[in-house]
Amino acid sequence: MAEALDLKAIGTRPIRPDGVDKVTGRANFGADMALPGMIHAKVLRSPYAHARIKSIDLSKALELDGVFAAICGRDLPQEGANDLSINILAREKALYHGHAVAAVAASSAALADRALDLIEVDYEELDPVLTIDDAIANGATLVNENMYTNGDRSQPPSNVAAQQKFERGDVDKGFSEADVVVEEEYRVPTAHQGYIEPHACIADINEAGRATVWCCTQGQFDVRSMTAGVLNKKVSDIKVIPSEIGGGFGGKTTIYLEPVAVKLSEMSGRPVKMVMNREEVFRATGPTSATLCRIKVGAKRDGTITAATAWLAYEAGAFPGAPVGPGCMSVLAPYNLENLRIEGLDVLVNKPKVAA
């Protein structure tokens, strides 16, 4: 054995350096900042999981005393209208129950909430696609009419945004050599990370177009580049200052509120604070994927696996990007298999886009 080492850190129980500030209430989290002259914004969210937005009328909300500004999707730059931007404010369609449709900034959060009731949205309700089974069925309602599997426009549009396959050997031969074949289907429902701290931010932009955003994230540079992208601004025009983060678990390195707050600050000339409530966190921020997996394993009596197949369908939510790739890469990875086939599907459904 090696000789005893004079270890300086291993075996000690140091007090965490942020500990004192966290047990005394000093530590500042996302909603703890305040700026002079700050106003508050709230988000109007779709009451439908899937609906065409025929019109949005902000005028009555804007007439309410104490309301400074109101926006909807058409007020964000069309140049940045990628998935991220459309998730932040819906355009043609509301894609999930809770999808942000408009936002109002007012002198108080309560007043902003009241102003939301004055926004008139004319929806045409559509069939929602709520399960993988429904999403991949023949003739399924399309979450996105312009989505083609792996971008292949020679096929009709589909709710399957991407499909990937990994194969080795000959699975038919493998299964035929098996003494036992087990095939099971597994369903895992959507699970939200459930961080105790709701998403929050403050944005302040000056007349020279330079914005500062305070928010609870461990990914301030991601937040900066994403916010710049949605607003079609230079990253050098945005400074993101992270607060303590009250739990993220992968859910706080993306953005929901920040570009809206910057835009409302620009329109009102005031710093704008936005804090989600718990319901908004659950309705509109990214959980992990619900999955439907079919696994088939063939083995000899001595335990040797002769073949295995895995069919993994992951809910992406309303925009592509479920972590099905890592799923495919790991599902059979512990075994040294001669014959395998793995198929992974990134499936759109009318739910919030997954995160982590």
Partner: protein, 159 residues
């Protein structure tokens, strides 16, 4: 509607603030008095992050109206430590690593101190029952319970 002028005592200090009638005690503490140590996790009394003492009674400040603080005594996380040293509950949370992100910590500490003030020698079940109204997403609770047990032991030895 005009705001209501509320006079209250927070952590032993007289405080005055203007409060809208619909504002919660949590809003009053955070937004009007700037005491942001008390956190909002749910706004519906489920998570306990907003726990404070109101005239000595443990409450979810998100479920109390701000105007109800008129003439009452409020104790928040900011009033737990002495100026020159942490309360033993705070110290034990540090030593047992009973916090991680820290957002639930103020509520847990206010609640745990209230427990020990009332019952200096609680058993584990009592501690878990008392803290059942406080949710933590990081620690898994065991370290929190051990911190409270250790704090009780230390308080017993020092008295």
């Amino acid at each position: 509607m005009k705001k209501v002028h509320v006079s209250t005592t927070v952590n032993g200090q007289p405080e005055e603030a203007l409060c809208e009638v619909h504002q919660s005690l949590l809003d009053l503490l955070r937004d009007e008095l700037g005491l942001t140590g008390t956190k909002e996790g749910c706004g519906t009394g489920d998570c306990g992050a907003c726990t404070v003492l109101l005239d000595g009674r443990l409450v979810c400040s998100c479920l109390v109206l701000g105007v109800e603080a008129e003439g009452k005594e409020v104790t928040t996380i900011e009033g737990i430590a002495d100026p020159d040293r942490l309360h033993v509950v705070q110290q034990k949370f540090l030593e047992h690593a009973a916090l991680q992100c820290g957002i639930c910590t103020p509520g847990f500490i206010v609640a745990a101190k209230a427990l020990l003030d009332k019952n200096p020698d609680p058993d584990e079940t009592t501690i878990r029952y008392w803290l059942a109204g406080n949710l933590c997403r990081c620690t898994g609770y065991d370290k929190i319970v051990r911190a409270v047990q250790d704090a009780a032991q230390e308080l017993a030895q020092s008295s």
